[in-house]
Point group: C2
Chain length 354, copies 2
């Protein structure tokens, strides 16, 4: 029996599964949370114990690995993890091949999830697809002509750092108005928080000034600052549902709560969610014009935000793409298991290459 071992180093969780070649069901599957103090060494130890527990003494034929961070897919060497310390330049493929004596293939989670959706999920039979995960970050992976496209240095797919609003808020990467800055869960929460805190601040000022003419928040700012949709929002109403959800402790806000408040009709939440959908829709429309893929497959927590989100992004994407550029935007089908099923597909392609 030909066994495939699939591994997912996910940053906050570790998962492993074994399946027969060609099967779409796990023979055995295990999953652990990565401890808060995790480093590469502890992650590798936990994964080894998962693997030996799954294998029960048998040997897999091939190993496929999804890693949550940049990987040199040619050599199977991890470049680093943004979540877990100590992963710099770990030759993960070599370590696994040495320990288990079978071929292994390693790639980053967005590429592997794209492959998983292509082989087993929402991208089956596609000419070409771009998989986008919208979660704590925004990342993407390409399948062109049935194969992953990784680019010259393995960095292809970084739609999260496409600039869609050069006057927008500053992203962690240093640029303004990246897709990730507007559409990722934590930044959506931050955007809502800033609007509500600004409102509080103005309320306080207004009560101090009492009868005086209301002071404009824009005084002394450069004219173009007025263009930011976030600043515009600060002058609108809403936020009551959001505040109720976190008992007025704005530090507890998350992207998921923003989506929930938007679904419950909170105006501030709706606008921030629409802004996320706008950024992602503009990004997708730009990608459609540039690469003309058949299908966009969207996964990650933020894509569960409901109809406001999906309608907004579909509309903006369609308006941004030229009329002749056709495409579909569909939700991912494999959910959190996309990387692990992608690892199966990665291992299978290795197996057929033998």
């Amino acid at each position: 029996m030909t066994l495939i071992l699939a591994l997912d180093f996910g940053g906050t969780k570790l998962a492993a599964g074994i399946a027969h070649l060609g099967s779409r069901e796990w023979l055995r599957y295990e999953r652990r949370l990565s401890p808060a103090s995790a480093d590469a060494k502890t992650d590798l130890e936990i994964m080894r114990s998962l693997i030996y527990s799954l294998l029960e003494g048998v040997t897999p034929s091939v190993i496929g690995v999804s890693f949550g961070g940049p990987v040199d897919a040619t050599t199977g060497t991890v470049r680093l993890s943004h979540h877990v310390a100590g992963w710099e330049n770990i030759p993960l493929k070599d370590l696994l091949e040495a320990e288990f004596g079978v071929p292994a293939s390693v790639d980053n989670d967005a590429n592997v999830a794209a492959l998983g959706e292509y082989r087993f999920g929402a991208g089956q039979g596609c000419h070409s697809l771009f998989y986008i995960t919208v979660s704590t970050g925004v990342g993407g992976g390409w399948i062109l002509n049935g194969k992953p496209w990784r680019g010259m240095s393995g960095m292809a797919g970084e739609i999260g750092h496409m600039v869609v609003d050069p006057n927008g808020p500053v992203c962690l990467c240093g640029k303004r108005g990246c897709v990730e800055r507007l559409a990722s869960g934590p930044y959506m929460a931050q955007n809502v928080r800033e609007i509500l805190e600004n409102e509080q601040q103005r309320h306080r000022e207004a009560s101090v000034l009492r009868g005086f003419p209301r002071q404009s928040a824009q005084v002394g700012k450069p004219a173009h600052a007025a263009a930011s949709p976030l600043k515009q929002l600060a002058r609108r109403r809403g936020g009551e549902v959001l505040r109720a959800l976190v008992g007025d402790n704005l530090q507890l806000l998350t992207g998921q709560l923003v989506s929930q408040a938007a679904a419950d009709g909170d105006d501030v939440a709706k606008e921030v969610l629409y802004q996320a959908a706008w950024a992602l829709g503009l990004g997708i429309g730009n990608v459609a014009n540039l690469m003309n893929p058949q299908r966009f497959v969207l996964g990650g927590g933020v894509t569960k935000a409901g109809e406001i989100f999906w309608q907004g992004l579909r509309k903006v994407a369609r308006e941004t793409a030229l009329p002749e550029v056709t495409f579909e935007i569909v939700p991912a089908a494999l959910g959190d298991e996309a990387p692990l099923w992608g690892a199966v597909a990665l291992a299978e392609s290795l197996f057929t290459m033998k």
Copy 2:
């Protein structure tokens, strides 16, 4: 002897060449301007006469064709021309194959020029390249793994309609702040013209108002309008060199004259040219993040604009791409002959497939 016939339907010009397989020199080459009243029928007639004049009674082995407009490369059918009437759904490949009895291959000029630069020009030996032509329009063509990437419906490469400034001026396509709206030659000329005309208008108003306080051009406009770099420019000095170049007739302005005035130190021309470089640089940086190609090859008249342009676009592209994303930006090597040499490469690939 294996002869290749290469054709270029360029919108405003028609060119044809024949070369031996493997040769990088034309055996014979002819070129005509397309008459102002041209339609598909007259273009085809002129091209036929060019071909028969070149062939001198011999028969080519294969025919490669570059067409200046959208083409269904699978069937070799022209969709339309934006410059010449009557090209809708003309089965160009079939017409040529029927007349000359040999296989033909047809694709749009950006894809064909990309192939030309890849095989014979600035992209030789590349892992992957994106060719961009910046001229009366802005278009692009992909070479991935040594082969053209055309996308699902043959529309890949449309960087011209990537939105880089959602608050920018309105493009012919209806969107705001497309790369083409900011970086194409005719739009650069228009941007300069609008700035200078606005200035003239304000001078007139100022002389009417004489001693009165100067009226702001921004009054009554929505606050975000102030963000447009074009509007900001209107308040600066410059334009003298531009005006001198066209004898004060702003209708005569062209992209080339804007570049020339910028090189001669005209502030308005410099700013508009920098804005074009900014738009193109942001577009290139976004593409680098998304596809991570090894090389960008830039051709077309605007790319001859000199150092202000090249320095600006290289700087912005580098700042827009993530630090790990490596790429090169180089000028095209084949100039106006890129489509025709690309047609040779297209024909050669057909020949080797036989």
